[in-house]
């Protein structure tokens, strides 16, 4: 294994900057590495693009990005989900500048070439100039492979990528568990917070599996919630709170192990008194005791962060999506989730979930700005002394396989970061 030094760190190939228990700070600061990451990771891996609730019917669309490529995720007339590069085949103008909506198709504003929801070129104004020059059938929008699991929709530019189900592997079990927070109803996107920070995307990738920072960075949030919520999040000294390396760069961090599987409820855990008002509203709406219990226990989400390499985390009760903009700028989306069911039942539940989300997440939350300040500081500090590594060795000495065979350590350990960086190293080594 090559060690990096001040003399060599700027000359080593990117894959040599990951040493298992530490990585080089240059990985956050080198624009050339960023360009390679876009090509080798974000344009080859399965990238999360949408949740199925964001595309409720034929004609629904969402615009987003896969690596550097602007894309539109659509549901076509047959109900098939497609990911189309948001670029007219004529002269390259973007077709759609709305984040979400409903459309019959997409017409370029420049010369009015029009495309169907399936990406096929439908119409060209004054087509006589193209007679004998080209075939419309060859000029559909560039389409990405698109597959989904458990309502999570992913796309890839890599025609040779393994099937999504294989890439997810043992993650699928945890996606199933995450969706149990619908409380018997499907999970639905309620709204999205968006914010930027001036740091490399991998700093946020680390944070989604960093239990160690929580009581320090989020002390002011801990002080602002009720004692029961604070107690529920007091995982620092709980030996049953663990992180598993699930393979392919994915990991799961179980902060509240008793809420890992919300469907496994022996009835012994009392509902928190702070939800008495919600319980009363659900009773008035006609929900039975078992349903109320399912919904209320799920208000805080599941007890884990499921970190999917490279761009999405299913974080307790929301999705955390990252989009690298440049080597030192990243956009984060915090996607609030709720239940999709009858308004009289899910209305009060979702209101509770929205307020809890606003309390912590988003650019003015009680948690996010503090995280963001930490990430800014990492980016600034990592410019110094390039021979000093970024340490990801916490818990290496106590990492053991779980019964399922997953490398496992305490929830405050850096097992998930090591898993992500091992995948980063694999993908960056692959020519």
């Amino acid at each position: 294994m090559t060690e990096f030094t001040a003399a060599t760190v700027y000359d080593l190939p990117p894959a040599d900057l990951v040493l298992g228990d530490r990585v080089a700070g240059r990985m956050y600061t080198d624009p050339a590495i960023f360009d390679q990451e876009m090509t080798k990771i974000f344009e080859r891996a399965w990238i999360w693009v949408a949740h199925e609730s964001e595309l409720p019917k034929a004609g629904s669309f969402k615009s987003t990005h896969v690596g550097r490529h602007p894309v539109i995720v659509t549901k076509d007339r047959k109900g098939e989900i497609r990911t189309l590069v948001n670029r007219c085949r004529h002269r390259g103008a973007s077709l759609c500048e709305k984040k979400t909506g409903h459309a019959n198709g997409f017409t370029c504003p420049y010369h009015a070439w029009s495309y169907g929801l399936d990406g096929k070129l439908r119409g060209i104004p004054y087509p006589d100039g193209y007679e004998g020059v080209m075939d419309k059938a060859d000029l559909g929008l560039k389409t990405l492979r698109t597959e989904s699991y458990g309502g999570m929709i992913f796309a890839t530019l890599n025609a040779e990528a393994e099937p999504l189900a294989d890439f997810l592997g043992d993650v699928k079990l945890w996606i199933d568990r995450f969706m149990a927070q619908g409380g018997g109803y499907p999970v639905k996107v309620l709204g999205t917070h968006r914010f930027t920070y001036r740091g490399n995307w991998k700093i946020q990738l680390e944070n989604t599996t960093d239990g160690y920072h929580f009581p320090i960075v989020h002390r002011s949030w801990m002080a602002s919630v009720d004692a029961e919520t604070a107690e529920m999040m007091s995982f620092m000294t709980d030996p049953t709170a663990v992180t598993h390396d699930l393979g392919n760069g994915h990991s799961v961090m179980q902060m509240v192990p008793e809420h890992s599987d919300l469907d496994a409820d022996d009835g012994s855990e009392p509902l928190q008194p702070r939800f008495d008002g919600l319980v009363a509203r659900l009773e008035a709406a006609g929900a039975d005791e078992a349903e109320i219990r399912r919904l209320v226990r799920a208000v805080h989400g599941t007890g884990f962060n499921l970190n999917l390499f490279p761009n999405v985390s299913m974080s307790i009760s929301f999705f955390r999506v990252l989009r690298p903009i440049s080597v030192d700028e990243t956009v984060i989306e915090h996607v609030a989730l709720g239940s999709d069911g009858p308004a009289e039942i899910v209305g009060p539940v979702n209101r509770e979930r929205l307020r809890a989300h606003e309390h912590f997440q988003g650019p003015f939350g009680f948690g996010t700005p503090d995280d963001s300040e930490g990430w800014d500081r990492v980016q600034r500090g990592a410019q110094g002394a390039p021979e000093l590594p970024i340490m990801v060795n916490r818990g290496l000495g106590r990492e053991k396989p779980s019964a399922e065979g997953w490398p496992t350590s305490h929830v405050t350990d850096e097992t998930g970061m090591r898993a992500a960086y091992a995948q980063w190293k694999r993908m960056m080594s692959d020519d």
Binding site: Y197, R198, S220, A223, V331, L354
Partner: protein, 164 residues
């Protein structure tokens, strides 16, 4: 429109908005909190045209309890974003009174904030809706509602260590 900017009731509402701007730039959050009525709402929505905030996601949707918690967070010294927050200078102007009587003034305004931190200036532009409840004297005027509609409300904004 019968309401005018020189109406003494409107002048009082504008003065309250300017007093608030000065307090927020000075990060005097304890005093700032006192400008709000107990039943007031302070909202920064994500949907610029939202009027009903409870069933949608907002950046901020604070009642008195949440304002109190927020002030504590901003002043207790443990929130690293607040401890090291940007220096702000804000301008509140382009006032349009829309509803005026002896009890309250409803006012629209433009707010520009320049936030400076570590060599960079961030610009925050917003339309602001105020409802000011008039007291027996100007010192007893209180906000009953403030809604800050950022021009880029549904886009990515910097994570902030200050209030708008």
């Amino acid at each position: 429109m019968t309401e005018t900017l020189t109406d003494p009731r409107v002048v009082r509402a504008i003065e309250l908005a300017w007093r608030e701007a000065a307090l927020l730039d000075a990060k005097e959050y304890e005093t700032w909190q006192g400008l709000y009525a107990e039943d007031a709402r302070y909202v920064i929505p994500i949907e610029r045209d939202a009027e009903d905030f409870d069933d949608v996601l907002n950046m901020v949707n604070d009642d008195a309890r949440m304002r109190g918690l927020r002030v504590r967070r901003m002043t207790e010294g443990y929130a690293i974003a607040a401890v090291d927050s940007a220096i702000t200078v804000r301008t509140v102007s382009r006032f349009i009174p829309t509803d005026v009587d002896d009890r309250s003034v409803t006012l629209k305004a433009a707010q520009i904030i320049v936030a400076y931190k570590r060599g960079r200036h961030d610009l925050w532009a917003a339309d602001v809706d105020y409802v000011v409840r008039l007291g027996a004297s100007a010192g007893e005027d209180r906000f009953a509602r403030k809604v800050v509609r950022l021009v880029n409300a549904d886009e990515a904004v910097p994570a902030a260590g200050f209030l708008l």
